[in-house]
Symmetry: C2
Subunit: 382 residues, 2 copies
């Protein structure tokens, strides 16, 4: 990029998405080191960044491994050279053509099933294509989402056999402790991590006892990945949001506010002094409608307000949003007075949920210190 | 499009956004006829569709008039030939360059201010450019958002003079009855429409009494536009969501569920029979995080479930969502049993909020009857 035309925090069009590169790199390094120490493979979930540049930093190698939530992500990352991809959402049979096309290009793409019906469809398409599609069986560790409960041994084995004997490839089991997102504290997250581990390991044992292969035991969520103490029997951990973190994770106690690498740059566009309101050009279109902290101990509304350098402005929250307008005010019950922020002042808003806020934007403006050092595109769609 | 390769409701990749063209056209015609009858100009707010194809149908002429919520919208619609555009969100001075560039291309772009400070910035930039930028003064009819209250006569006139005498063009006043979105019933919406009208008309009278020009008196929101009975003194009405409608508007009593033109096509990917859950591939990424009906009399969760033909399946709602997975179940308290919807079944989900759900997608799959007759791109960003 031409140095002279490079935008600055003062010249960027607002609202836009800022990525603090140093914070992101620290988050990535922390998780890599943690997984090395625990002796498991890290499979970063790229549904959070949806960016080739971020993916290359988060993955162990440029070829992967990685997890994705859509085939669009798989296709985009495959184009960028990623070769080991887990499509970590239950597969619908209509998507098998795209799976086969990616595999035919040399991508080691693994899918997820949790029913005999889906396993049979996958096996039948594998046979027809003369190319076994590898699959993990989803295990339900906490009643939170999809998956087979580890005690449903007959079902588990029936799915395993439908894959293994039907012509697909039974590659293992996976689980996601979705309930860790509502853990009251770090102790509960540690318990949840153990529950996630033991559910997956038990399911793997059930399959192996029946003579079925189960080389992969995949677990993960950012909270459990950050606090698991023992991952015996697990081969890989998936996590996504740790790359950026967000207010929801800070509220859970999984990170500090200072670890949050993502923010939305906004500009003051008006005031309503009698109501102690500051109006900005970041509404829900820029922040997303995610209000995930509403049920946490501290509600962060649509986001925490920082100055342009990223220092939190005490007591200020993005209290309400319209489509393209946000209302900043003091948090209910906060003491102090509204700072003087004239029209044109630039602010940064820390988001509730990195995945949701990120998805509202087409690019990251990458901050190296206070410099806007690069623009990294994001993609979306299915 | 080649007839042979045209996708069908059964072959489209899911999730995707469906637009029922006949419903949209009926909604558009109803509003056009209503505004004709009331003797005012309709200025459709294109922040809802963000699509040139939809805009051309909603506008009175291919040149406009239209309202937008971002300069990105103004630029996109200008490229498509729209010439009369109101940028209906308070302007930050940093955006004036882009306003001037659009005006230099022959676009009659009007902006909105609500402070002397912003008016002075606009006037000063108008003088420097030798090109008066036209502006409306935002009036606060209900304490809901930005704007000057009509009784703040001194402030109103000071802004008016800063524009008119400073070198910009004072073109009039505008207000938006945001509070109409929380009206308990249609009677309250009618009252709100009258409050919106009278606030704008009073503000215009204040300016005119001071010898200031005020040719434009602009009001509007979909609820007030649908129920206003008298628009005396108003020159134009802005409304956006009526083009598609949504569950929130149906909950307000502003439309019927059968008027909703937008839905998300999804595929069943699994079941949790013990919990009476049906899992689909539409999560919050496809629906948005908008839970606007949560505070209405009937909570529609993440959306109402219909069969592939668009007929509601009684009692079924999209109860919970993950990023790429939704959980359909019977509404709490609903009687009846879960229908048998095997893996691969296609369903349609009616959205809470057309603006938010639309924004999650890059295109409309346009339904003419049961045919996917066209694909209309959407844009986004700022």
């Amino acid at each position: 990029m031409n140095r002279k035309t490079r935008p600055t925090l003062d010249s960027l069009d607002t609202p836009c998405l800022l990525l603090d590169e140093a914070r992101m790199e620290a988050n990535i390094e922390y998780m890599k080191a943690r997984m090395r120490r625990l002796g498991v493979t890290l499979r970063p979930h790229l549904k959070t960044p949806k960016s080739v540049e971020v993916a290359r930093r988060a993955m162990q190698t440029p070829q992967g491994p990685a997890a994705v939530s859509t085939l669009q992500e798989a296709e985009q990352f495959a184009r960028a050279g990623v070769r080991d991809i887990l499509y970590a959402v239950g597969l619908s049979p209509a998507k098998i053509d795209r799976v086969l096309a990616l595999r035919a290009q040399g991508v080691n793409l693994t899918v997820v099933v949790d029913s005999v019906e889906a396993a049979q469809a996958l096996a039948s398409r594998s046979r027809a294509a003369g190319a076994p599609i590898p699959a993990l069986i989803e295990i339900d560790a906490d009643g939170h989402r999809a998956g087979v409960r580890p005690e449903q041994q007959a079902l588990l084995c029936a799915i395993g056999r439908a894959l293994h004997e039907g012509g697909a490839e039974l590659r293992g089991v996976m689980t996601h402790a979705g309930e860790s997102y509502s853990s009251p504290d770090v102790v509960a997250i540690r318990d949840m991590a153990e529950r996630e581990r033991s559910a997956a390991v038990r399911a793997a044992a059930v399959l192996r006892e029946q003579g079925l292969p189960c080389p992969v035991v995949s677990v993960g969520s950012t909270p459990t990945a950050m606090f698991a103490e023992n991952l015996e029997g697990v081969t890989e951990v998936r996590a996504g949001v740790y790359v950026f973190f967000d207010l929801f994770m800070a509220g859970l106690g999984v990170c500090k506010q200072d670890d949050i690498a993502l923010s939305v740059l906004t500009t003051v566009i008006g005031h309503q002094p009698e109501k102690a309101w500051i109006l900005v050009d970041a509404g829900w279109m820029a922040m997303s409608r995610d209000r995930g902290t509403a049920n946490q101990a501290v509600d962060q509304y649509y986001g925490l307000v920082c100055d342009v350098a990223g220092r939190p402005l005490p007591g200020l929250v993005l209290k309400q949003t319209n489509q393209e307008q946000g209302i900043i005010t003091l948090r209910p019950g906060a003491t102090g007075t509204l700072p003087d922020l004239p029209i044109g002042t630039r602010l940064r808003i820390l988001p509730n949920h990195a995945c949701a806020t990120g998805a509202q934007h087409d690019a990251y403006q990458v901050l190296r210190g206070a410099d806007v050092a690069a623009v990294w595109p994001r993609f979306r769609g299915w």
